[in-house]
């Protein structure tokens, strides 16, 4: 067909990449890797992901809310689940608690007396700890998305 023969032919490869030195990482790859690092950092230390992006208000909010929930949950003698769970709910609780990152170790160190869910306070504490984990995961995901430039 005439249109196909006269239409300009698109280049088969990006000519700008030819200028990069062999072995060097592309900017997209570095950007994506940095987003992953920020997401993992935000999970490990609540607020660190946003702090690396210089979103100071969100970083402080994340650190304080997750920290307060963990301290309250452990102080109310909520259940800090371990990897040796007896059933699926224990495993889910463990995953939720792990969402707090390094604060999971803080919760375990604070709760030296063990969990006491025989009263309402302990039950609330278990929910506080699980919510802290979910909130931190949400915050880390937000930092990851912001690092990729999708939203902020």
């Amino acid at each position: 067909m005439a249109d196909e023969t006269t239409a300009p032919v698109a280049p088969q490869h990006d000519s700008t990449r030819d200028t990069t030195t062999p072995g060097a990482l592309s900017p997209d790859y570095r950007h994506e890797t940095m987003a992953y690092v920020i997401g993992v950092a935000g999970w490990l230390v609540p607020g660190l992901g946003h702090a690396l992006l210089k979103m100071w208000g969100r970083a402080a909010m994340c650190f304080l809310t997750v920290g307060t929930l963990v301290i309250l949950g452990a102080g109310m003698r909520g259940n800090v689940f371990s990897s040796r769970g007896n059933d699926a709910f224990d495993s889910l609780g463990y995953l939720a608690d792990l969402g707090t990152g390094t604060f999971y170790l803080l919760a375990r160190s604070l709760e030296t007396g063990g969990a006491d869910v025989s009263h309402a306070g302990g039950d609330y504490g278990t929910r506080f700890l699980a919510t802290a984990g979910m909130l931190n995961l949400l915050s880390a995901l937000h930092a990851y998305e912001a690092a990729r430039g999708r939203k902020a």
Binding site: T65, M76, R77, D116, T131
Partner: protein, 64 residues
């Protein structure tokens, strides 16, 4: 902190604290402008409390 220093909170205090902390977190994550954040936090907090108390009252006939 040890077991002897555990927090003793009532149901209402626990719910209030939970609703406040989560509302603040949601407000900061989902809005950028301070006024928008404040509106979102207040609105979310009110809804948390309203729905929490509402569900509590809805469960009351089945509690005994």
């Amino acid at each position: 902190m040890n077991a002897g220093m555990g927090f003793k909170l009532s149901h209402l205090q626990s719910m209030l604290l939970f609703a406040l902390l989560i509302s603040i977190a949601f407000g900061f994550l989902s809005r950028r402008q301070p006024i928008e954040r404040a509106k979102y936090i207040v609105w979310s907090l009110l809804l948390f409390l309203l729905i929490g108390v509402g569900i509590g009252w809805a469960m009351y006939p089945f509690s005994r």
